[in-house]
Symmetry: C2
Subunit: 226 residues, 2 copies
């Protein structure tokens, strides 16, 4: 993971607009795309294949935020598994009868599991953060390819990196509209920052993405990871 300290993934969430042109504009400029549940439910899971046909590079992630029993998570995942590289599920549902079954299913299809360890909004402090040690126990037992940790609270990301070591990929949402500055999560130990509205709602998404890249570069230089 450390080989790419500049990761930038763009979040596509709204079901109300087509993202074909945006994906073509950003292809090669960013490191991947994260497709949100509203988009995949509103446009249908086949839309992931349609978008991917516009950009065959980078990592494609279905951000289903799965949080159910294994049987149901597998049913949902089977709808998109052929179209993406990775799927996101929540760590708080635990391993037995849930994430363990999902990971086995994804690995059998050559896909990656990314597990939410913490979230980016203020309400994450109410329950999620307090359960973090238990969630990290479950994640350590599970051994997923990646985890989600918030860019908005970099100390949480740093403590997750310290606990899980260098091998797991850390992806960090919360950059831009939610308040975190580009590069802050990378400095805290993340591999990829996820940016949604700041790029997607820009009149010129390609320039916005390049500006985020430049801001990441400056921030990384200042924290010594650049």
């Amino acid at each position: 993971m450390g080989s790419n300290p500049m990761g930038l993934i763009v979040a596509l969430d709204s079901p109300d607009r087509g993202f074909e042109g945006l994906v073509e504009d950003l292809c090669g400029v960013v490191d991947g795309f994260k497709l949100g549940l509203p988009l995949l439910m509103g446009r249908g899971p086949g839309y992931a294949a349609e978008l991917r046909s516009r950009c065959r590079e980078g990592i494609w992630i279905a951000d289903l935020k799965l949080a159910d029993i294994g049987h149901v998570m597998k049913l949902t995942t089977s709808l998109v598994v052929d179209h993406v590289d990775a799927v996101i599920a929540h760590g708080f549902v635990g391993v037995k009868g849930a994430l363990g079954e999902l990971k086995e299913f994804l690995e059998s299809r050559g896909r990656k599991l990314i597990v939410v360890a913490s979230m980016s909004h203020p309400g994450a402090e109410e329950v999620y953060d307090k359960a973090l040690p238990l969630i990290l126990d479950a994640i350590e037992e599970l051994g997923p390819w990646g985890v989600v940790a918030p860019a908005t609270r970099p100390h949480v990301t740093t403590s997750i990196r310290e606990r899980l070591g260098p091998r797991v990929a850390i992806v960090s949402p919360g950059v831009g509209a939610q308040g975190a500055e580009p590069g802050a999560a990378l400095c805290a130990g993340a591999d990829y920052e996820i940016v949604g509205r700041l790029i997607v709602s820009s009149p010129d998404p390609r320039s916005a993405a390049l500006a985020v890249r430049e801001a990441q570069r400056r921030r990384l230089a200042s924290c010594g990871r650049g």
Copy 2:
């Protein structure tokens, strides 16, 4: 809630089959239908309207198991809000910037919020159950119409009922394929039991539902709630 100690809701999850005939068969026999995320993503959110046109009574629940920031949960919910009475989200994500925004949105559309307080699979003991006091703090602050508590672990349901009082509706999954017997969760304080595969995968779903009703009746008589 106490006026109907016999609630039975049928879970429809699989995107691989049509449920139109099943809904017609079960209409009037059960108290409602819970539509799972795999079904709503695989068939499209409009399928909720199609199914509901086959049975205009009972409660219709979109079991999206939402667990995201408020902005994204509202985008997802807006896809089904016209077709259902209630939507399920996870208590784990907290109130601020998450469930608070979702509840406000649902109430503005005259719809109910049901919050997962605990789950029915073995992995729920790893994190979810240990965070239960914090989750119940968030639920108490939020004041949703209903909560989800597991039929498979009735003592959890009982403690949730004791903590939240008589006004909140408790819906309990885990009956049948997951191991809980019909009526056990009702005896523990639930208002509705959710049954999926035991009825849906039966060669005669209507008879299976009537058998569940009869088993609930016997169990309730034995625990003094009948």
